[in-house]
Structure formats: structure tokens, C-alpha cells
């Protein structure tokens, strides 16, 4: 039930945002499709970067264990914060790529 509540909330606010965008901000409905495409692109980049960050983190921890001789847990790399940081990297990369296109 809680799942459906969140989906309903998300649907309602998205619909409100759609109409606010058209009427309040003067946005064209046709421009939404490429915007959603870019959203998918950003999510995809974030996922790839997250996987790379986790992989690099594992290697870093193994290297630190070897170099320092002390125990560093691999679980450091499964902190949810790394997902948010990967998303920031993805947004920055996407904007950078778009800036180069202009």
C-alpha cells in the first residue's frame, strides 16, 4: 500500500509540474521527450560511474591493506553516499559534454 501511495504522489506532482511548465514557464510539450532522453542518459552515466567507483574503491582498499598492513573494510565501498557522489559526477560529465557541443 505504501508503495502505491508514493507512486500516486509522484504521478500527481509530475502531472502538476507538467502543467506548471507549460502554462507557468511557457515550455513546449514537444521538448519534454528529449529532456527525458537526457534524464535516461544521466541515470545511465551515473550507474556506469557508480560501478567504476565501487570497482576502483575495492582496488584502493586492497592496495591500502597491502601498503599499510592494517585492515580497511571493503564495505566502505558499498556506502549509499557513493551513489549520490556518482550521480554528481554524471551530471557534471553530462553538462561538460553539452558545453563542448555548443
Amino acid at each position: 500500500m505504501e508503495s502505491y501511495y508514493l507512486l500516486l504522489l509522484f504521478g500527481l506532482t509530475s502531472l502538476a509540474l507538467y502543467f506548471a511548465g507549460i502554462r507557468g514557464l511557457g515550455l513546449r510539450p514537444a521538448a519534454l521527450r528529449p529532456a527525458l532522453g537526457r534524464l535516461l542518459e544521466c541515470v545511465g552515466l551515473a550507474m556506469v560511474l557508480a560501478a567504476l567507483n565501487v570497482g576502483a574503491g575495492f582496488l584502493l582498499v586492497l592496495a591500502l591493506r597491502r601498503l599499510t598492513g592494517s585492515f580497511v573494510t571493503l564495505y566502505l565501498n558499498t556506502d549509499v553516499t557513493l551513489l549520490a557522489l556518482s550521480a554528481l559526477q554524471a551530471v557534471a560529465l553530462q553538462w561538460w559534454m553539452r558545453a563542448e557541443e555548443r
Partner: protein, 202 residues
């Protein structure tokens, strides 16, 4: 590259929706908490799970400790081995030992082992505490997700393991956040299992 990123993004969002808003993750987990009769053993072994800098056990550590103490009080073993290293000045095994004493476990039945920092370390240390006796029977107490990996590591070390898992996340979560937490725990353990396999731990 753009098309590939969009395809990955679409797949990622679809996976997110399935994991957060459907019971898929519970079906993927497939595990069940132990409901059977446990045999008697030489020792109850409670694996580490963390202690707060303030000196209090984490939720999962407390669950495992209480489960181990309960098994001891049922008379299933003459000894209880409590593991857990030092984090930020607090030693998990020692905090657990104090709980055990407060809850009526005789001091001479408690073994506090703070040395292990990984499941593999813990298996080696427990084996040493059992006088390196191959075939020594233990009741292994750890989280349900962690149990298959832990069991194999302890068996490889030479012990006979009866699993006494502790449920640390509901397998029937009804909120998206809880489903995602379960998915994370399952994924984390899958990665750990792959790493142990690659490292030759079992």
C-alpha cells in the same frame, strides 16, 4: 555513447522500479529464517557486526548476541564465543561479553574474541579457540544473508557447522525504502561472496 547511456539508464530505472515497488527482491532472496531443531555443539559462535563509538552494540550485533545467548540458555552448548573487533575505542566482543554476563551466562562459559576483522579471520580464530580440533561442531550465529558465505568459510577451516541465522532485514518488506535496503544487503553479500571465491576463501 549517448544511446548506450540511455539504454543503461532505462534498464537502471526499470530495475529500480521493480526492486522498490514490487516484491521482486523478496523473491530473489529466496532465504528463510531457521525454523528447525538445532543439534548440540561444542560452542555457539556469534560473529561480529559492529559497535558504536559510544560503546553500544549496533542493531544487528545486538540481535546476534541475544540469539546466541538464547541458544546458550537452551543448553545447546557449554560455551559461547563472542566475536567483534575494536571500533573507535569500543571492543564489540567485550560489550557482548558484558551483555552475556548480565543476562545470566556464567563467566567461565564466555569466550571473548576481539581479533577477527573479516569472516575468514573469525573462522581461523574460532578454530584456534577450539584447540584446532577438526570436526568440532559449532552453532554459527550470523545474519541470514551472511550465513551461506560464513558457513562455507568455517567448514573449510575444519569445523562442522549448524546454522542458526538471525533475521536482520524483513524478507517481506512492504515499503520501498525497506525493499531497497534488502536489495542492497543481498547485492552486498553477492559481491562479498564473489570476492571470497576469487580470493580462494572457499
Amino acid at each position: 555513447m549517448r544511446a548506450a547511456a540511455r539504454a543503461v539508464g532505462a534498464a537502471g530505472l526499470a530495475a529500480f522500479a521493480l526492486l522498490a515497488f514490487t516484491p521482486l527482491v523478496a523473491a530473489l532472496h529466496g532465504g528463510r529464517s531457521h525454523g528447525g531443531v538445532l543439534p548440540r555443539a561444542a560452542a555457539i559462535v556469534v560473529l561480529g557486526s559492529g559497535v558504536m563509538p559510544e560503546g553500544e552494540l549496533t542493531d544487528t550485533s545486538l540481535r546476534r548476541t541475544l540469539h546466541g545467548i538464547r541458544l546458550f540458555r537452551q543448553g545447546l552448548a557449554p560455551r559461547i564465543i563472542l566475536l567483534g573487533p575494536e571500533y573507535h575505542g569500543a571492543v564489540e566482543a567485550e560489550v557482548r561479553g558484558r551483555y552475556a554476563v548480565d543476562l545470566g551466562v556464567p563467566t567461565d562459559a564466555i569466550v571473548v574474541e576481539p581479533g577477527g576483522r573479516s569472516t575468514r579471520d573469525e573462522a581461523r580464530l574460532v578454530f584456534a579457540r577450539l584447540d584446532r580440533r577438526r570436526g568440532a561442531a559449532i552453532l554459527l550465529v550470523t545474519g541470514l544473508h551472511h550465513m551461506p558465505r560464513a558457513r562455507r568459510v568455517f567448514e573449510r577451516e575444519g569445523m562442522v557447522v549448524a546454522a542458526a541465522p538471525v533475521l536482520e532485514d524483513s524478507l517481506l518488506p512492504d515499503r520501498p525504502q525497506a525493499r531497497l535496503a534488502l536489495a542492497r544487503a543481498v547485492a552486498q553479500e553477492a559481491i562479498a561472496r564473489a570476492y571470497y571465491r576469487l580470493a580462494g576463501a572457499f
